[in-house]
Symmetry: C2
Subunit: 155 residues, 2 copies
DNA sequence: AGCATTTAGTTGACGTGTAAACTATCTCCA
DNA sequence: TGGAGATAGTTTACACGTCAACTAAATGCT
């Protein structure tokens, strides 16, 4: 009986290897996500919010809202509230573009940058920790397999 | 430049292999999830709802609400609304236990069973499809690696 | 018996993801 | 120049996950 089978208290073995792999993937991702969520929450951020701040810092200059959305999994309408909350908390601000009054730039503020800086090392550490069970060979193999899966999913 | 790096339009290479693997995991899981979500939606179900129906069918008899919750990732309060919606849609019904009036059994109804039956083959097929890029060896390796990761996360 | 504690489940508040409909602005072209 | 269509972003409605606080019923201890 596999580890996963025990975890979900399943009585029947899996119908297929593919199914076992898919469920394993979901569960593992879930566990890892929980760890990061906790870390971000200590600094007043959710994973989505952290992600947006990372994008803004990485870009180095204000970005239109839809540009941000296109770089995340977040679908367009969700981004509005996300920016709202980041703005209310003082991490970013909105700035309407003067040439094209439809577009709104989002700029990361000092508080946002500071929070990211504090998080940098812990985030790196957590990445190492959650995958600490794997050797470098394992990691490379895992990455190879995951990219192989996505090759057919991203068409 | 890796596939993932291109996908997220990241300018810097990844800070570590572990980070690259974690993000790959998240993204792959996401893509797969979207496919299943679509399939379930065609039958009026969300992934969480489908999961609950599967648990009920697998058990073969009504289950107390908290027993269901403990078998899912769903945290207790979330289960209430989930059962509410399943009940309103006619997939399950609530039945109060007579010996212990605190517990409420959830029973899967004919409509729920029929819907699951219609989904069985498509679900199997989709599992095969999303992981169709991998050989049997790949699949076993992927499962091995994921379980290795979780070993240290489930403590 | 009687009161504190535990257990089962719900409610409410909030953050997020998704889809459809909407507003405001811009562009293009007849 | 003026109106059709495209584009940027918001609003609304709903499903879900999470936390904290709550109700109701059972248990257990004295």
């Amino acid at each position: 009986m596999s580890r996963l089978q025990r975890e979900v208290r399943k009585k029947q073995p899996f119908a297929s290897l593919a199914q076992e792999a898919t469920l394993n993937l979901a569960r593992t991702n879930d566990r890892i996500g929980i760890r990061f969520e906790r870390l971000f929450r200590e600094h007043g951020l959710t994973p989505s919010q952290y992600n947006i701040l990372r994008i803004l810092r990485g870009e180095g200059k204000p970005l239109p809202i839809l540009d941000i959305a296109s770089r995340t999994v977040t679908v367009v309408p969700g981004i509005t509230g996300l920016i709202d909350r980041l703005e209310k908390a003082g991490f970013v601000c909105r700035r309407r573009c003067t040439e094209d009054r439809r577009v709104i730039f989002v700029e990361i503020l000092a508080k946002g940058l500071q929070t990211l800086n504090h998080l940098d090392q812990p985030v790196l550490d957590l990445h190492e920790e959650v995958l600490g069970g794997l050797t470098v060979q394992d990691l490379k193999e895992l990455i190879r397999l995951l990219e192989k899966v996505r090759e057919r999913l991203e068409e």
